[in-house]
Each structure stands twice: as structure tokens, then as C-alpha cells.
């Protein structure tokens, strides 16, 4: 190995260093420390199955909009509209479900063929109605995402901030217009199962078993699929490449506009999927969901999860951990009877700290 004499000069000092380990596992470590602290502070509640499945249920929809936000932030963009697209999709879901049910019930009552068809209240009819309204919700998310992408790639607005800020307001307004400003309550069971269902494991005569929310399983499956997509497909790597150096990616023959459109569409679709979970949990569609500012929680989760605002950096797993950290902090402070207002302060400090860590990391990378 004659090479080995010159080799050391080529080994960047950063490899195997503490900073690299921190970059890889720092967020996970923070999550573990947080859980240990909460276990110590709230020994009788925090680590119980009931509390954990409660948290899992609460963060499921945030986890999905955060994943969409993560994709956009990977390309150095921002999507301010994920919360309101979720809210609009939610209204579209509930509204279309009620409308389709109404049409079918009316038609069934007057049709001579009715005898050979399922009754409107039968599980089959409600199942089909649920599926159709889910398609309407996903279509809504897709369309909003598509328009967001066009604003950036076709209208050439200077920054996705502007287009998605516009979309935030449009979706909020539309959610209120369509719903008349009040909740649309009552959804079929087939629709609620994603957001409210539980799978119970290890139930015996003596123990109630472990309740795993279906919503949490949906989240894990979608996160897994997105992980495979981002790390093991061409398009996934192109998303990272666009975030790292759009110009280089363009010169490499990649259709950068196509990639940018895609991330906004995926973000919209994930927001619509979040709406399905949300609808199940509260058994209605409420325009308030569009107004709650969930997009800020999504951005916070992504940044806490280690993604960089400059694009190209961050992982799917990191984003999930970011969501969990946010969820556990809210939950823990609740268990400890800390006021909601202080929770906001705490989360604000954590966002700033996470962004500062990113700054330090970039500085370290430049000096290496």
C-alpha cells in the first residue's frame, strides 16, 4: 500500500469526531434524555401505556404535516400552508362525506332498484362513501400542493414563503366558506378508524393489553415509505441534491422544477392524510383546524429534528424525533401542571436552540 504514506492528508478531520456523532445521534439523545427526565419527574403517569398511546394519538396528524414540511425544507423552501391545507381537506372530507351520503340516501329512497343495493346506513355503503370522501380530501391536498409548486416554478414568485402564505389564507377562507364557519359533525366508522381506532395487543383475562392507535401505525408506515423514497430512489436523492446545490443539480440534467413541484404536491397530500387522522379523532370537520397554526408546529418539529433551513440536510427519522420531542414536552409539562403559556415559551426556546445548533454545525463544517 504505497498510497498509505500520503493518505492522512486526505482524511477530513471531521470523520469519527464527536461533532459527527452528535450530528447523527444528537437529536435521538435529546429525546432519550427528555423521556428519562419526564419519567423521573412524573413516575406514576409518564411511562404508562395509557399516556404514551394518548401522546401517539395526539401527535399523529402533526407528524404527517411535519413530514411534508420536511420535504419542502429539504429543498430550502418553506410551506406555510400545511396546517390550513389540512384544515381545508378536513372540511372537504366531512362535507363530501355528508353530501355523498345525502345523495345516496335520497336516490335510494326513490329508486326502484333499491332492493338490490345496500342500505345507506349499511357498512358497505358507508365504507364506499368514506373511501370517496377520502379521495376528495386527498384531491384537495394534491391540488393545493400543485398550486403552491406552480407559484414558485411557473409564476416565479421570489420565495415559496409568499406563495404558501397566500395559500394559507386561501385555504383558511375556503374552509370557512365551505363549512359556513361551523363544524360538520358525525362521520362513519369506516372513516374514523384511521384516526380513532386502536389495535389491542397481548390482551389476557387479567390485563387490558397494550393499545396501539391505528393513527400511529399509519404514521410509521408513511414515514417508512418516505424514508425508502428519500434514501433509495433517484427522485429522493434529487430532492436532497436540489437542496444542496440547485444549479449543480440542473447541470446534471435533473429537472429541478419537476422536483420542486413534487415536494409541494407531496406536502399537500400529506396534509390531506393528516386531515383523515384528525377527522377520525374528533369525529367531525371543523374549520378551526385550518386556523390553529399547526404549520408552525410542523416547522418547529422539522427544525428540532435537525433539518437545516438552508436545505439539503435532515432525515426522516430526525423529523419523527422532532415531532416526538415536541409532543413529549407538551405532554410532560401538562403532567407537571405547567401552564400552557409556559409550554409555548419552552418550545420557542427549543426552536431557537435547535436552529443555533445548525448554525454551529455549519460553521464547524466550514472550518474543518
Amino acid at each position: 500500500m504505497s498510497k498509505s504514506t500520503t493518505a492522512p492528508a486526505y482524511v477530513p478531520a471531521r470523520r469519527l469526531s464527536i461533532s459527527l456523532i452528535m450530528e447523527r445521534f444528537g437529536v435521538a439523545l435529546a429525546l432519550v434524555i427528555l423521556m428519562v427526565v419526564l419519567t423521573i419527574l412524573s413516575p406514576e403517569y409518564f411511562l404508562t401505556g395509557a399516556n404514551l398511546s394518548n401522546v401517539a394519538n395526539r401527535i399523529a396528524f402533526i407528524a404527517l404535516i411535519s413530514l411534508g414540511e420536511f420535504l419542502v425544507i429539504l429543498t430550502a423552501g418553506i410551506d406555510l400552508s400545511v396546517g390550513s391545507i389540512m384544515g381545508l381537506s378536513l372540511i372537504m372530507l366531512a362535507k363530501s362525506c355528508h353530501l355523498i351520503y345525502g345523495w345516496y340516501a335520497g336516490w335510494y329512497a326513490s329508486s326502484s332498484m333499491a332492493a338490490s343495493l345496500p342500505e345507506p346506513t349499511s357498512p358497505v355503503a358507508l365504507g364506499v362513501i368514506s373511501m370517496l370522501s377520502i379521495l376528495v380530501a386527498l384531491g384537495t391536498g394534491y391540488l393545493c400542493g400543485l398550486i403552491n409548486g406552480w407559484g414558485f416554478t411557473k409564476l416565479r414568485l421570489p420565495h415559496p414563503f409568499i406563495m404558501t402564505l397566500g395559500m394559507l389564507n386561501i385555504a383558511r377562507g375556503a374552509a370557512n366558506l365551505i363549512s359556513g364557519g361551523s363544524p360538520i359533525t358525525g362521520l362513519p366508522k369506516a372513516l374514523r378508524v384511521f384516526g380513532a381506532g386502536n389495535i389491542i395487543l397481548f390482551r389476557t383475562a387479567t390485563s387490558k393489553g397494550i393499545r396501539i392507535p391505528v393513527a400511529f401505525i399509519v404514521v410509521l408506515v408513511i414515514y417508512f415509505v418516505l424514508w425508502v423514497f428519500l434514501s433509495h430512489t433517484k427522485t429522493g436523492r434529487h430532492i436532497y441534491a436540489v437542496g444542496g446545490n440547485p444549479q449543480a443539480t440542473l447541470y446534471a440534467g435533473v429537472n429541478v422544477k419537476h422536483i420542486l413541484n413534487l415536494v409541494y404536491i407531496l406536502s399537500g397530500l400529506l396534509a390531506a392524510t393528516a386531515a383523515i387522522l384528525y377527522a377520525g379523532r374528533i369525529n367531525s370537520g371543523t374549520p378551526k383546524a385550518a386556523m390553529a397554526g399547526y404549520e408552525l408546529d410542523a416547522i418547529a418539529s422539522v427544525i428540532i429534528g435537525g433539518a437545516s433551513f438552508f436545505g439539503g440536510r435532515g432525515t426522516v427519522v430526525g423529523t419523527l424525533i422532532g415531532v416526538l420531542i415536541m409532543g413529549f414536552i407538551r405532554n410532560g409539562l401538562n403532567l407537571l401542571n405547567v401552564s400552557v403559556f409556559w409550554q409555548e415559551v419552552a418550545i420557542g426556546i427549543i426552536i431557537i436552540a435547535a436552529a443555533f445548533i445548525d448554525v454551529l454545525r455549519r460553521r464547524a463544517a466550514r472550518e474543518a
Partner: protein
């Protein structure tokens, strides 16, 4: 002598009233390193953009390996093996060496019985290692993130990226401009290695020492006109500088073995 890889004949290009190129002829022989020099605005970049298909000439012809060609976009020129290495724009720092070398032409493998096409990470790492070894570029692992490497290493990878896929002509625009002195020699080494592998190189540079170190022939442009075309062995830096500035009118050696 083999026929030239590239022959450009009487290329003219105007942008509005600005005549960027006027009847420029250019010949690039196999395994030749050709230096193109000239002041800012002399037409170097425009000429290369015509050759790579970014711009279309107003008049004149381009021949590639003897056949007349017309490039409507960089895609066309790349398909024939003409690769441009851009100054600072060529790499995504957040991706690994292998990912950068394969960016835009990733290898994939069918998985789950042909259901999905996933990336062949191992194949790309091996391919990247082969390319780097061929050009004697010393990077310890193709899995390193590019931003952790030095400027010279990055420039070398940018070249590897372009020649990894059977480039016949590599155009380098100021590859050493942003580099520390000790890094420059690494890039010049890579240029020599390309020559050994029968790749013709066009080097655009303001740095005369670099030009004189690696180039076989030097072309001088001034205000869109070719004013110098001389083998390195027949000239010196003073003459080239005089041609660039206009202190000397012309030096066109007709010693190229062209039909």
C-alpha cells in the same frame, strides 16, 4: 495524424449589437490539452457555450469526429461525450462523492420482483472508486460528503464526474481560480491524467503558469476574434500576454495537421 475530435469553422455569434464571436476557427485534436486565453469579454465562454449547445451560432459549422453536428442544447453535446466542468457549480456539497459522480444518471436495481426500482448504492460506490482510481484522485471513501473535502479534491471530483461516463472532450472553465496554490497542482495532475486516457481537454484560464504547464497548444481570443493559435513549444508567456492585450497583432501558426 488522426482527424480532430472537434472542428469549429467560422463561428460567429452576436448578442444584439455586440459581436461576441467573429469567424472563429477552432480545432481540437485527440488527447490534446488546448488552452484558451483572452481578456474578460474576449469570447472564450461564448465559444464554449456554442460548443456545448448552450448558445447556437449565427453562422459557422461544428464537426465532431468528422461529422457535422448541430447542438440545440447541452443535452445534445453531452450525448456525444462533450462535458463541461463548471467552476463552482458542479457539485452538491451535502451529497457523497459517489452520489455526486452519479448525479442525474444514478444506477438502479429492481427490487421486490421488479416492483420497485431502488438505487444501487454499492454499484455506484464501486463505479465511483474505479473512476477515481483511474484518474489517481485520492479520496479515501466514495461515501464522504463532498463538503468535507478540500477545493482541489472537489474540483477533481467535478472532473471525475464528467469523464466517468466516457467523455471524449472535457471543457474546464477556470478550474483553478478559487483554489489554494497547493491545490492547483492536483487539478493539473488530473488534466494530465485525462490526456493519458485519450480525453481531449479545453482549459480556459487566466493563470498563465497553469496554461503553460499543461497545455499543448494555446488559442488567444481578443474581442471575439482569434488572434493567436500556437503550440506551447513555439511561444512564451510574454508573447501570449502581448496577444491578449493587443500589443502584438497576430500569431497563427499553420502547423496543425489538419486536412
Amino acid at each position: 495524424m488522426a482527424e480532430p475530435v472537434v472542428r469549429m469553422e467560422k463561428i460567429s455569434k452576436s448578442f444584439g449589437p455586440v459581436r461576441a464571436l467573429q469567424n472563429v476557427d477552432l480545432v481540437l485534436n485527440p488527447s490534446e490539452v488546448l488552452g484558451i486565453v483572452g481578456d474578460n469579454g474576449a469570447g472564450k465562454s461564448t465559444l464554449m457555450k456554442v460548443l456545448t449547445g448552450v448558445h447556437q451560432p449565427d453562422s459557422g459549422q461544428i464537426y465532431f469526429q468528422g461529422r457535422q453536428v448541430r447542438f440545440n442544447s447541452p443535452h445534445d453535446s453531452r450525448a456525444l461525450g462533450i462535458e463541461m466542468v463548471y467552476q463552482d457549480l458542479a457539485l452538491a456539497g451535502n451529497l457523497t462523492v459517489a452520489e455526486n459522480i452519479y448525479l442525474g444518471r444514478e444506477l438502479t436495481k429492481k427490487r421486490l420482483g421488479g416492483l420497485v426500482k431502488l438505487l444501487d448504492h454499492r454499484g455506484m460506490a464501486e463505479g465511483a472508486t474505479r473512476v477515481l482510481e483511474r484518474l489517481k484522485i485520492e479520496i479515501h471513501s466514495p461515501h464522504f460528503q463532498v463538503e468535507t473535502l478540500s477545493g482541489g479534491q472537489r474540483q477533481a471530483i467535478a472532473v471525475a464526474r464528467s469523464v466517468g461516463f466516457d467523455a471524449k472532450v472535457v471543457i474546464m472553465d477556470e478550474p483553478t481560480a478559487a483554489l489554494a496554490v497547493k491545490e492547483v497542482s492536483k487539478v493539473l495532475d488530473v488534466i494530465r491524467r485525462l490526456k493519458e486516457h485519450d480525453v481531449a481537454v479545453i482549459l480556459i484560464s487566466h493563470r498563465m503558469p497553469d496554461i503553460f504547464e499543461v497545455c499543448d497548444r494555446i488559442v488567444v481570443l481578443r474581442q471575439g476574434v482569434k488572434v493567436g493559435d500556437v503550440p506551447r513549444s513555439h511561444t512564451n508567456m510574454d508573447e501570449i500576454v502581448a496577444l491578449i492585450t493587443g500589443a502584438q497583432k497576430e500569431a497563427l501558426h499553420l502547423c496543425q495537421e489538419v486536412a
